[in-house]
Symmetry: C3
Subunit: 209 residues, 3 copies
């Protein structure tokens, strides 16, 4: 049951992020290989960096089914990307969903690999955001992680919630679910309300130093 | 003999890609250190990412001769880059050669490391393309992998040909040679003929969503 | 004592580079999360790539205190970045200091991991420069490593000095100190004097091929 919960989060995250990568490929009118590459890199990018940093075997080299899923999903998007009324809005919403899924799945995998709480939170943020960084860079968009929106902080808050609850001895499903909801709601509400964090304000007399 | 065939492909690929990196440095009129860095990063970049993903020791950390070869080749290009009539054409052709060499060498190394066929194909593509991605990013060019040309797909086709033939029990040299030729010919012919793959065409009423 | 010398260099390098990352965040008027991410990525980026390439465990996954230090330093910069007369000049000078610290610390760690001299020099350069590459890319600046200045070469010279002295049997502190001073002085003097290395000059009739 426990194995299943984590594996499910991981699979859902990979599929959701693959769709966002393929949607960017459709917006850029790429060919099929572009869909497959952008979809796959977005879907597995975050988990790949997490596994490299943790020194764990990279997850998809052990289970090629992930690669085939990325290929099938990218292929499907090639044919149905015209269906959503706004591909941009679908992209943003799925990205929020993937962010929340990977924030807890990444932290969870780090805990299982024996990492401390602080490292687990960083791994949650890395897993949740790096696929999108690759997608935005390869697609030629400005990375959403650098926008003024609440993005990496939502992933961080979800990972902190999960790690804290798990450390306090909460049941695993409760901790995973709470972390997921914290990240998803924080990202969704801040998107809708246009929430941002306070920015640094220069106090010097010179406009730019 | 078998060891030799793989090592030869790897060495040739490293040298050929190092030349392309140094040629970009010459086109950008960099200094000698720029030649060495761009040449080396292009020459060893693809194999480095492959080894990291496979969890194998990074090849050049075990055999520093690779680093010295990259340095010597970059240095040589610094002095002879004015000889080819068109450095751009030399660059494109050598890049196609390196792509085909690394597509089979990368898939071969993955197979030797115990990876499945699907993972081996991905490793062929990663090895063949990542050095060029680094080169183009550091050189400030748009990555050729994102162009509309047949590039990653040529590497993928070569890797698939090699992996399939090897799985069917073909002699290793035949499988390696066939994969190499498939990738090289596909890339060369599509360059000459201007072949591209069909692109995604938006079907919505709005020009951009 | 020896352990201490290396650990001290590493800690100083991480802190100094974290400050440079946070200073870039202040120049871009990012929010607090931007400070934390840019500071941390700059502080630990070089050592992370070094450890991945060496196949060593990534240093901060073993000692989360590094992450907390990056967070605290980034936070402090958020509140005091207005104090230096010129944030740009502070950034350049701290970057030179971090470059020299990491050039020897990176080469030293490679030697300890059993790498050869050539690999140790490359690891020194990678550790010294990669954090800055991440900082400049994420901050939207042109990477200083690609500038015409003496930058990677200063790191390389420091690493060569350290590795050579260590190979000749010099006391470790002497070798570390000499390598550090070579890198720092070379970078500082070339900044002040505007030294550059000779660039490649095209000899063809055509302006650009």
């Amino acid at each position: 049951m426990f194995e299943t919960a984590t594996a499910t989060l991981d699979w859902l995250g990979v599929i959701v992020f693959t769709i966002t990568g393929a949607l960017v490929a459709s917006r850029k009118q790429m060919d099929f290989v572009g869909f497959a590459m952008l979809g796959t890199a977005t879907g597995i990018g975050g988990g790949t960096l997490r596994d490299l940093l943790l020194g764990s075997p990279v997850f998809w080299t052990q289970r090629p089914a992930y690669l085939l899923a990325c290929l099938v999903v990218s292929c499907a998007v090639f044919f149905v990307a015209h269906i959503p009324q706004s591909r941009y809005r679908a992209l943003i919403r799925l990205d929020a969903l993937g962010l929340a899924l990977f924030a807890v799945a990444g932290a969870e995998k780090a805990i299982q690999a024996g990492a401390s709480g602080a490292v687990a939170v960083v791994m949650g943020v890395v897993t949740a955001t790096f696929g999108g960084v690759i997608r935005d860079l390869l697609g030629g968009d400005s990375p959403v992680i650098l926008s003024r929106e609440i993005y990496a902080s939502a992933a961080g808050a979800g990972a902190v919630a999960y790690v804290s609850l798990a450390a306090l001895g909460a049941p695993r499903e409760l901790a995973l679910g709470s972390g997921f909801l914290v990240a998803l709601l924080l990202r969704a509400v801040s998107l809708r309300r246009g929430w941002t964090l306070p920015r640094y304000r220069p106090r010097s007399r010179l406009p730019y130093n």
